[in-house]
C-alpha cells in the first residue's frame, strides 16, 4: 500500500563508501532497472557486484543487496546499494531510482516504517532519535540562513494565495445561499497560473543550487604536454598530479578541489588527447572525452610556445558547444601560437595569472549575479516537492473545467499540502479562519 522510498543511509559528504537504501514494494523492480549485473538473481541477503546506472551513460561500480520482506530494516522489501562515497554519485543513483518510481524519503521515514512493521529494536530506535534531533538542529541552523528563510517566505506566500482561493471555493460550498461574489473557475485558474509561474521561477534556480551544494566540475583537457597537470597543481597550489616532460604521463583522472569566493570548484585533470596504441592510455583518453562532456566547464589548454597542430584544432572543435575557457599556457616562453579567439594567458609553471583564471571561471559559473540576496534551491527534497507541485498545477489547469467544485477543492488542497511538506503547515484550520475573517456570513 505504501509507496517506495529512497535515501542515502550514510552521512552526506565525502566518504569512501556510500550506502543508499530503498524500501517498498517496488524496490526490487527498480533495482533491476538500475543495477546491471549478469548474475543478479535477486537472492536475498547476497551481495552482488555490478554497475549502477547513474544516467548520462555513466555508471558506478558497486554492490547491491536485496533484503526480502519482512527480514529487512523496515520490514518491507529493501534494496541497498553500496557505491563510491561522495555526494555526486549517490545523488545520481537516487535520481535514477526516483525516475523509475521511487520517492525521496522524509526525515525519519524509514524508521517510521520499521516501527509500523514492528521491526524497530531498542538500539536502532535510540539511534534514530539522535538522528532526528540532529536533523532538527540542522534545520534550525539552516532556517536561520537567509536563503532558506526566503524560500520559506516564498512558499508561505504561495500557500497564502492558495488559502485565498480555497477559502473562496469553500465558502461557496458551505454557504450556498449567501450573496458573495463567488470565484469563477476562470478566476481560480488565473490565480493558480500566477502560482505556477512562481514555482517555475524557483525551479530554474535549482541548477545554480546544485552547483552551490556540490561544486562546479571543471575538466582540464588538451593534447599531451601542454601543461594540464601543471595547471591543476598551480590551481590547487600543491603537487597533486605528477608532472614530467614525457608525453602521456597522466592516464587516470586526477582530481582536486579549491574553495574560491565561498564556492567549491572541482578540477579534473585528464589524459592528454592523442592517437596512441597504448591500451591503458587510450582508456584514459576515453575518460577524458567523457568528462569533457559531463563537466560544467572545460578548460582547454594550449601551448602558446608552439603553433596549433591538428590535435589542437580538433580539440577546439570538441569544446565548441560547451561552456569553456581557452587557456594559453607557457606565456613565460616566446609566443608562437596562431590563435586569435578569446583566451586567458597564464604560466602554470611560474604560477602567473592563475588568479585571473580563477576569476574567469567564477564569472563563467555564476555570472555577476548577486547570489546572496536571491532564493536558490539547494535541497533536493525541496526541488522534488516543487516539481510535483508544478505537475499538480499543470494537471489542474487541464481538468478544472471538467470536474465539479468539490473535486477542484481537493486538487487545490493537494497542492497546498504538498507545499506544506516544505514548511510543515497544515491546511484546514487556516482555511476556516480565512472564511470567517473574509466573508460576512449568517447561519
Amino acid at each position: 500500500m505504501l509507496d517506495t522510498i529512497i535515501a542515502q543511509a550514510t552521512p552526506i559528504g565525502k566518504s569512501g563508501v556510500g550506502v543508499i537504501r530503498m524500501s517498498g514494494e517496488k524496490s526490487l523492480e527498480i533495482a533491476k532497472q538500475v543495477f546491471l549485473c549478469k548474475n543478479f538473481v535477486s537472492k536475498p541477503n547476497y551481495m552482488y557486484l555490478g554497475k549502477i546506472d547513474i544516467g548520462q551513460e555513466l555508471s558506478d561500480l558497486g554492490f547491491c543487496v536485496y533484503f526480502k520482506a519482512p527480514h529487512s530494516y523496515t520490514g518491507e522489501d529493501v534494496i541497498e546499494f553500496q557505491c563510491h562515497g561522495g555526494m555526486l554519485v549517490a545523488e545520481k543513483i537516487i535520481n535514477k531510482c526516483v525516475e523509475k518510481g521511487a520517492r525521496r524519503a522524509l526525515a525519519g521515514e524509514f524508521s517510521k516504517r520499521a516501527f509500523l512493521n514492528g521491526k524497530m529494536s531498542l538500539d536502532q530506535a535510540e539511534g534514530v532519535i539522535d538522528t532526528i534531533n540532529a536533523e532538527t538542529e540542522n534545520q534550525l541552523k539552516a532556517s536561520s540562513n537567509l536563503t532558506k528563510g526566503n524560500l520559506f517566505k516564498e512558499v508561505n506566500k504561495m500557500q497564502e494565495s492558495l488559502t485565498d482561493v480555497l477559502s473562496e471555493v469553500e465558502v461557496n460550498l458551505d454557504y450556498p445561499e449567501h450573496d458573495i461574489e463567488y470565484e469563477t473557475k476562470e478566476n481560480i485558474l488565473t490565480k493558480l497560473n500566477k502560482i505556477l509561474i512562481d514555482v517555475e521561477n524557483l525551479l530554474i534556480t535549482s541548477s545554480t543550487g546544485l552547483k552551490i551544494k556540490n561544486g562546479i566540475n571543471i575538466a582540464i583537457v588538451g593534447k599531451t604536454n601542454v601543461g594540464k597537470s601543471s595547471l591543476l597543481n598551480a590551481l590547487l597550489n600543491y603537487e597533486q598530479a605528477i608532472v614530467t616532460d614525457i608525453e602521456g604521463t597522466t592516464r587516470d583522472i586526477v582530481t582536486g578541489s579549491i574553495e574560491y569566493k565561498g564556492f567549491i570548484f572541482n578540477f579534473f585533470d585528464t589524459a592528454g588527447i592523442r592517437q596512441t596504441k597504448d591500451e591503458i592510455e587510450n582508456i584514459g583518453i576515453l575518460k577524458a572525452r567523457e568528462l569533457l562532456q559531463s563537466s560544467d566547464i572545460v578548460l582547454l589548454v594550449l601551448d602558446s610556445s608552439k603553433e596549433l597542430n591538428n590535435q589542437d584544432k580538433e580539440n577546439l572543435e570538441l569544446i565548441k558547444n560547451k561552456k569553456s575557457i581557452v587557456v594559453l599556457n607557457k606565456c613565460d616562453l616566446p609566443s608562437k601560437i596562431n590563435f586569435n579567439g578569446d583566451c586567458v594567458k597564464i604560466s602554470a609553471k611560474q604560477n602567473l595569472f592563475t588568479e585571473e583564471l580563477k576569476e574567469k571561471i567564477y564569472n563563467l559559473s555564476f555570472g555577476t549575479q548577486n547570489i546572496a540576496n536571491q532564493i536558490i534551491l539547494t535541497n533536493s527534497r525541496h526541488i522534488e516537492i516543487l516539481k510535483e507541485v508544478k505537475e499538480l498545477l499543470n494537471n489542474l489547469q487541464n481538468t478544472i473545467f471538467d470536474v465539479p467544485l468539490d473535486c477542484v477543492s481537493l486538487d487545490i488542497k493537494t497542492v497546498w499540502e504538498k507545499l506544506g511538506e516544505i514548511t510543515g503547515n497544515t491546511a484546514n484550520e487556516s482555511i476556516i479562519d480565512k472564511i470567517f475573517s473574509k466573508f460576512c456570513l449568517g447561519k
Binding site: 532538527t136 467544485l405 468539490d406 472564511i435
Partner: protein
Amino acid sequence: MDGFYDAVVIGSGHAGCEAALALSRLNNKTLLTTLNLDSIAFLACNPSIGGTAKGQLASEIDALGGEMGINADKNILQLRMLNMGKGVAVHSLRAQVDKHAYHATMKETLENQKNLFIKQCEVVDIITKDGKVTGVKTNFGEVINCRSIVVCTGVYLDSRIIIGEYTKSSGPNGFVNAVGLSESLKNLGFEILRFKTGTPARVLSSSINYNKFEVQEGDEGIQTFSYLTKKQPKNACVCYLGYTNEKTHEIIRNNLSRAPMFSGAIKGVGPRYCPSMEDKVVRFSDKARHQIFLEPEDKFCNEIYVQGFSSSMPVDVQEQMYKSVEGFENVQILRNAYAIEYDCINSLALLPTLEAKHIKGLFFAGQINGTSGYEEAGAQGIIAGINASNYLNNKEPLILRRDEAYIGVLIDDLVTKGTNEPYRMMTSRAEYRLKLRQDNADIRLTPIGRKIGLVSDDRYKIFSKKLKSIEKLNKEIDKKIDSKIAKSFLESHNESFSGNACVIREMLKRSNITIDLLCKELNLFGGYSKQVLKYVETEVKYEGYLKRQEFLIEQAKRNEDIKLSADFDYTQIKGLRLEAQQKLNKFKPLSLGQASRISGVSPADISVLTVFLSLKKDK
C-alpha cells in the same frame, strides 16, 4: 419514581432525545428529565433542519437508527437541495419544518418508547462515588440512582437573555433555565466556558409587504432525510429573500453604544458564522446590504422567522432596524430578537466516546460541549446514548472515524482540538468530504447501527435490498452495448468514440454523459430506484478522486491504529519539544493519529513519538 435507572438523560433537546431513544431502544431502563415537557425537541432558533454539512449529519443519525431524520420528514413544509451545481459531495438537504409539530411528534415518539420514562424536573447535582456516577439529585430533593448519565443541557445552563440594557436569567423563549448543575459540574472538576448565541425576531406575516421580497420555492422530487420515509413530502409553503439597506446600517451605527455586544454587557464568546446584524455591520462596514430570509415557523405561516437578522439591541432600536427594511415598513414584531449566554464545558475533558475522562459513566452531548445547531446536538446525542449503553453492558465503545462520518469529524474535533467558540459543522472541516456524502450515509453507517442494535429489521431489509440493487447495477454497467449505438450516442453528446467506449461504465465516466441520459436515450436500467442510479453514477464519475482519498485515508489510518496510553508522562521524551510535551500531557491522546491533530504538536514531534513508542514496546 422507582429508585433505580440504568441511565438518566438530563435535558430533552435534540441531543437528549437521541440519547434517551438510543439508550431505551438498546434495552436500558432510561429516565429523561426535562425542565419543561413543552420544550421537548424545541427548535429554539430557525425552524429548519439540514443545510450544508448539517443535512449530512441528519442523514447519518438516521442511518445509525436515530430519530431526527424521521421526525423532520414527518413535518416538512418545504424541501430544498442546496449546492446542486457544485459536486455531489456538497449536495445538502435542507427542510423548513413545522416547529410545533416537530416538538409534538418527537414528544409522542418518546412517550411511546419502551424502557423510556419522562419526568419534568430539574437536576441540580450529579452524584459520584469512586470516580463513577451513582445518581442525580433533583430540585425537589429527590435522589435518583443510576449507573450512567448523559448531560444534554443545551443553552439552559445558568443562561441569561440579553436585549439591550435588559437582561434576565432565563432559558430561550421564556423557558426556565437550570441554575444548580453548573456548580455541580465545577465541583466535579470540569472547566466551565461561557458561550453566547442569538436569535432574530419573529414577526407577523400579515404585517409584511411580500411584494418587496423575492420568493424562494422548494425543490420537487428530492430525497428526504430518512431512508425509511416512503412518502415524498409536498412543498406546502415558500420562503422569501430580502435585504437590509444603508438606513438599517445607519440606525445600528447610531446606537452602537447601546449594543451589549460592544458595551461589554455580553461576555460570552459568540459564533463567527452566525453574527448578529450589529456585528455584521461593524465587521463588514463596506457591505451596503445584508441578506435576510423569511421562514414560516409552522404550517399556519402566520409567525415568521427572520433568518440572518439576529440582534441584541434594545427593543426600540430593533423596532427601527426591522422597519427600515423594504417590505417591513409596517412590520409587527411578535417576539424580539435576543442574545443568550450559557455555560458549557471544555470538551477536551471528554473521551472520543463523549464520556468524561475522569468520571466513569458520565457522558455529555450537544451544546454543553460547545457546539451549536440541532444536527450537531442530535449527532452527539445518539453517540453518547450508544456509548452509555455500551458502558452499561460492557461492550466495546463506538468511535466513528473521520473518514467514516461527519459525526466522527465533529466528535474528534471536539475532543482533540476543543473549541473556543460555538462549533458549527461545515463541509470544509471534513478532509474526506468526497466520501462523506448524504447519498451513502446508509452504506457507511447502517451496518454499524445494525451491529449495535439500533437498526430495525425493517430498516435493514430496505438497506439490504438497496445493496443488492447496487451490486446488480454495477454488473450491468460493465456490459458492452452495440458499437454503432454507442458511437452515435456519444457523438450526439460531443464525446468522442474511442477506447473502450462500448462499455457502459466507460461511457458514464465522460463528463457529458449522465446516468439519466443513458436511461432515457438508450433505454437502460429499468427498475432501479433514483437513489441507486445516482449512487452508482457518483461512484463511477468520482472514481479517481475517491481512490485518491482512499489512499490518504489508508495512510492516516496507520497512525490511528497506534494506540497511546492515557497515563503516560510525555515529559520523559526529551526529543519532543516543550510545547508538545505539555500539550500531550494535557490532552492524553488515545492514538498517534489523534496526537498528530492536537494543535502545537508538529510532524517532527510525531516522528519522535513514533520511535519512542517502539522503545516502550520492547521494554
